[in-house]
Point group: C2
Chain length 404, copies 2
Amino acid sequence: MINVSILGFGTVGSGVYQIINENNKELEASTGKKIRVKSILDNRKSVNPDIAGILAEKFEDIENDEEISVVVETIGGTGAAYDFVKRALLKGKNVVTSNKALVEMYGSELLRIAKEKNVAFLFEASVGGGIPLIRTIGDAFAGEVIKEIDGILNGTTNYILTCMTEEGQSFEEALQKAQELGYAERNPEADIEGYDTGRKIAILSSLACGKEVKFSDIYTEGISKIEKVDLEYAKQMSMAIKLCGSATVDDNGDIAAYVCPMMLDRDNPLYMVKGVFNAILLEGNMLGRTMLYGSGAGKLPTASAVVSDILSIIKLGSNRLPIEWSEERAKVLPMDKTSHRYFIRFKDVDEKHITRCRRAFADSEVIRLEGLDEFAVLTGYIREKDFNLVSESLNDIIKFIRVR
Amino acid sequence: MINVSILGFGTVGSGVYQIINENNKELEASTGKKIRVKSILDNRKSVNPDIAGILAEKFEDIENDEEISVVVETIGGTGAAYDFVKRALLKGKNVVTSNKALVEMYGSELLRIAKEKNVAFLFEASVGGGIPLIRTIGDAFAGEVIKEIDGILNGTTNYILTCMTEEGQSFEEALQKAQELGYAERNPEADIEGYDTGRKIAILSSLACGKEVKFSDIYTEGISKIEKVDLEYAKQMSMAIKLCGSATVDDNGDIAAYVCPMMLDRDNPLYMVKGVFNAILLEGNMLGRTMLYGSGAGKLPTASAVVSDILSIIKLGSNRLPIEWSEERAKVLPMDKTSHRYFIRFKDVDEKHITRCRRAFADSEVIRLEGLDEFAVLTGYIREKDFNLVSESLNDIIKFIRVR
């Protein structure tokens, strides 16, 4: 019998409870062991009658219950969650979490403690919801040199951009719709300014390079400045605008990692990812490019990722392919050392101005939208530092968007 | 030191050799053990000077070499490959293969022998090349009830259909181009008639339901009858035609499994899969839909899948989540018990005939292409048996294509 304790009984926690009960037979068949939720800690003192009998009074009851071998943390944040997870690991309990803030902020320390105690600290559900992303990096890509990670990791922003593209809505209209549907929070900053994506790409970058990559080192730009007209330009160029989290690892093991809106052309597999779905492209030196696509959020997909971590603990114990990184801080390249193509909008359609702007960037082409008193230029690949230098010398830039 | 022996030194075998050598440092880092290719068996007596020193004379030398713990089979077919794999397992060696014919034909027996001998028989590379499909089913979907598998599993046919769609080529022209580029074999039957996809969906269905599903039980229809005009209709309906391998598992554990060209609408994530790429949608009862996308073939992606199996053997030994099925034969539903929407082309555009054909299928709509002396009808969901009954009563059917 495997006894599990769940900390936090919100969306994900109650989903884990539901799956362990509803798929109990399959879980037993796949592991050879019975699994049950022995206790639940929830400070809202939920009156759900199903769980009344197994509600724990306080964390100490779980911490000191020797029968509990797996603790599931779905509280969120880095306060009580950090305290409880650390104490559970120190007591020699395996921990599974869906909490990206915790993993990004304290992952290195918690992974070290788990290793010292010979238990698992797993966090599949922290990035990409139900998409088996972290285990794919740890398992299928073990032995690969990961060159690049590129993903749509936030369903809220992707939903907003999809509405703007397909229904011609403004950013504000699309955000409001996302809030009405429960896809965006009342305070949507963490999603729309790219912080959520930034924390996720920090975790994935750490896995890819084996060193600690902090969110604070990652250049982060959200989608709140994207306008309808940007999407009209994108459409004319057969491109889509997506909020991408990206990381590349160079031959020295240095990381470039950033979050920003990207124009993607139709051949990019991320182009077709619509609505609240997430997808991530992984490029290994031998495996080439693989994309994983699925529900990046939602009660059951996320809870299912938690349960798959529990299964892996039961079946594999400590004999797992390592999903970890060291406490050494990775060197993250500053944004001005990265290279991109750029889509740049200019005011004023004077022909001389157009020619000057086009020529300022070699290999660039001019894009015009009918009826607008502005134009745009699409450049070839330039280092961001050089792009900044050239664009400072030009007048009337409305905005730019990087192009993959 | 882990000693590996490679049987067959063609595309995949030489790729495995290359990866073990070129990524040796990463492989050692990820497993904690040194890995080397100790011997290679190749009946062409290849004179590649790199491997001259480790060429085995005969299989018995490998079979009796107690240092060899992992045998990689890349010979193909079910003759020598079956003999050697079985003998290697019986000698207590782990086996990794990229050979779908072997896995489809003898998988149940070889899995049983591996279990009896407490060694691994792994075959990630046999389906979907570099896409980590089999381990995703065994690992991330362990404990899920798999409801549906739907995939583009053959790069050759997808390349041909892409050329026909995007460049307006005929089937024959596109096939010839695929042959010139080395994507299609001189005898392309196994690809274009869907047999390759059928073997792969047999393996995936077996994994999904835990019982043996044989290729011979799977309805298989290829793409050789797809015409340019079919793709023009598809385009007008904002659909794409793809060769899909599909399996659904009902609540009794019965399987419906078939391979046929499918019309997919734009919201289907498989719609955008172009060229030689493969992709597969998995639907679990809790996880929802996940898609994996990547290189379904190619030397290094396929070899990389073999190497990831080797890593898994080194690291996990027999403590793995089960990737297996029993020798019990699954009950596969006959095609006439499956349900689909149908796209049906009719000769003769007489208005009465059109009305009769449309009314014969409730909820159907008529599609016309300008300048053609024919029309088409798109039906709602019908059981194939009923579809057959109704269509027998109608004149002038040119062809039909199922619609997802």
